[in-house]
């Protein structure tokens, strides 16, 4: 089915295509990078002419030598940074740190929902610093390739969020490749089409151009329902946008499909080998495949199919202390349980986690 692109979409696309000339040397990354000739995916194991490769090889190397970087744990515990009662940030950050969390992020729509006076931002920064908690990012809502005119609205939202992140002293914002449906969480059948990919690349080029000079990274989170749903797509996206600020908000669980559900050690190593220090922060989740159809369900961290030892070790080998967001649990107690398990596994493999859990 042919899709029409609105005039606004055409202008946005044209702006995107013109953008590399204005972006300096980063824009040449794509031109210098040869296309990958082999299919994206893990290597064949056996019987690839008649079997899907869903079991791991017999001998999978697990090099568990840790690095020296230390993990800063973050979580979606309540209250959120955007719902601090009476702006009592001293209590908020103190409680966060006492719970073992040494990093925090905020949702973009909630953060931008009201003006944040300079005095409030100063207080956030001061209390975060006093409690050794890093406010590292704003987690963006929206869909940058939604059907027009929504795409433009969301792209402007991302741009506004980058400016807000800059003011807050954040390292990054997080966004996504987007969906051709208005709702980003719905997998549109054309999300992996050339048109969808081009819209994502152009949207990000526009965002980079309109925020040129900013030090805030634009971390992209892979989601299986979108075009960026594997490490190879992460890498290519950065190359095609041609801006070093395009980085990775790594969520390996979001990349899981039946073909890798039981090959997570390989998947983790492949992802870290490919992306390395493009990884600006990570989401820590876990999953199992426990239904007849390929139904992937969320599991408690360290009890599902993710190889958490390997995951934490690879994080510790990044050059900077990674922010690790534990997300998609329900109650604060569940987050506390997840943290206990993560700290236990980290301790077992010699990975250091900043702070202690009460």
């Amino acid at each position: 089915m042919a899709r029409t692109i609105s005039r606004r979409g055409l202008f946005a696309a044209a702006a995107g295509f013109a953008a590399p000339a204005a972006l300096g040397t980063d824009a040449t990354i794509a031109a210098q990078t040869p296309s990958r000739s082999s299919p994206a995916g893990l290597p064949a194991v056996w019987g690839q002419d008649f079997l899907y490769q869903w079991s791991p090889p017999e001998k999978v190397t697990r090099d568990l030598k840790p690095g020296t970087s230390q993990l800063r744990l973050s979580a979606q515990v309540n209250p959120r940074l955007t719902a601090v009662k009476d702006n009592d940030y001293a209590t908020f950050f103190s409680n966060l740190r006492a719970g073992g969390w040494s990093a925090v992020e905020a949702a973009s729509d909630a953060w931008l929902s009201r003006p944040r006076p300079d005095s409030e931002i100063r207080e956030v920064k001061a209390q975060a610093k006093a409690n050794d908690v890093v406010v590292y990012g704003l987690h963006c809502a929206g869909n940058i390739i939604a059907p027009d005119p929504e795409a433009d609205r969301w792209q402007r939202h991302i741009i506004e969020t980058i400016h807000a992140a800059e003011a807050l002293g954040c390292d990054l914002i997080l966004t996504h490749a987007g969906s051709m449906y208005p709702n980003r969480n719905w997998a549109h059948p054309q999300n992996w089409s050339r048109e969808s990919w081009t819209r994502t690349v152009n949207a990000l080029k526009r965002i980079c151009k309109d925020t040129a000079g900013s030090k805030v990274d634009i971390a992209i989170e892979a989601v299986n329902t979108e075009s960026v749903n594997n490490p190879w797509a992460h890498k290519r996206l950065r190359e095609e946008v041609g801006d070093a600020r395009i980085s990775v908000g790594l969520d390996i669980t979001n990349m899981v499909h039946p073909g890798v559900a039981f090959r997570m050690t390989e998947m983790i190593n492949t992802t870290f080998d490919l992306l390395q220090d493009q990884i600006r922060y990570v989401h820590a989740k876990d999953f199992v495949w426990n239904t007849m159809l390929p139904g992937i369900n969320w599991a408690m961290n360290g009890t599902g199919n993710m190889d958490y030892e390997m995951f934490l070790v690879r994080l510790s080998r990044l050059q900077t202390n990674p922010y690790v967001l534990v997300e998609f649990l329900t109650e604060n107690e569940e987050y506390a349980q997840a943290q206990r398990i993560i700290r236990s596994i980290a301790g077992k493999v010699g990975v250091k986690v900043i702070g202690t859990q009460s």
Binding site: T265, V288, N297, M300, G302, Y308, F328, Q337, I341, K348
Partner: protein, 166 residues
């Protein structure tokens, strides 16, 4: 009592006192007297029930064959187990075949204790799950009770299962 009888009792009493219980037999789970067993493979979140646990009405039948120094357990919910009753750690594959578990089985008086340590779910890199089972028989040998404790860094679960001899 005649002196000869007293002498026989004196000889047999220690042996009777230290005789190992015999768990051999076919055992039918008494759902009404047993706890609902949490799913042993999955710890799902976001309000999703893992399922697969043994409920009140589950009529599970297990077979136990006890020989010299070992017990074989056949349970329809898992691969057959052979427990070596020597109190020493034995490395055995987890149910997934991808990791190893350490199992120690010991007869202690009239109970059997089985301690297992393995990565949760038998998957690589997971949190360590410690499972302690205590098996005991009723005085008439007709009821088998298995008390299980499962311990993770973040959680401890205890449940009892009662089986009647067929």
């Amino acid at each position: 009592m005649k002196p000869r009888s007293l002498m026989m009792i004196a000889i047999l009493l220690p042996a009777m006192a230290f005789a190992e219980p015999d768990f051999s037999g076919t055992w039918i789970r008494d759902g009404a007297k047993s706890d609902v067993v949490p799913n042993t493979m999955y710890w799902l979140t976001r309000g999703v029930e893992a399922g697969g646990g043994r409920g009140r009405n589950t009529q599970t039948v297990i077979e136990v064959q006890q020989g010299t120094g070992r017990i074989q357990v056949t349970d329809p919910a898992r691969p057959p187990r052979t427990l070596m009753l020597d109190g020493k750690p034995h490395a055995v594959p987890t149910d997934t075949g991808m990791q190893m578990a350490t199992v120690v089985a010991t007869m202690q008086g009239d109970t059997l204790t089985v301690s297992t340590s393995q990565p949760f779910g038998g998957m690589p890199g997971n949190a360590t799950l410690k499972i302690s089972e205590t098996w005991s028989l009723s005085p008439d040998g007709k009821v088998l009770t298995i008390k299980t404790e499962r311990e993770l860094p973040a959680l401890r679960q205890t449940f009892n299962e009662v089986y009647n001899r067929r």
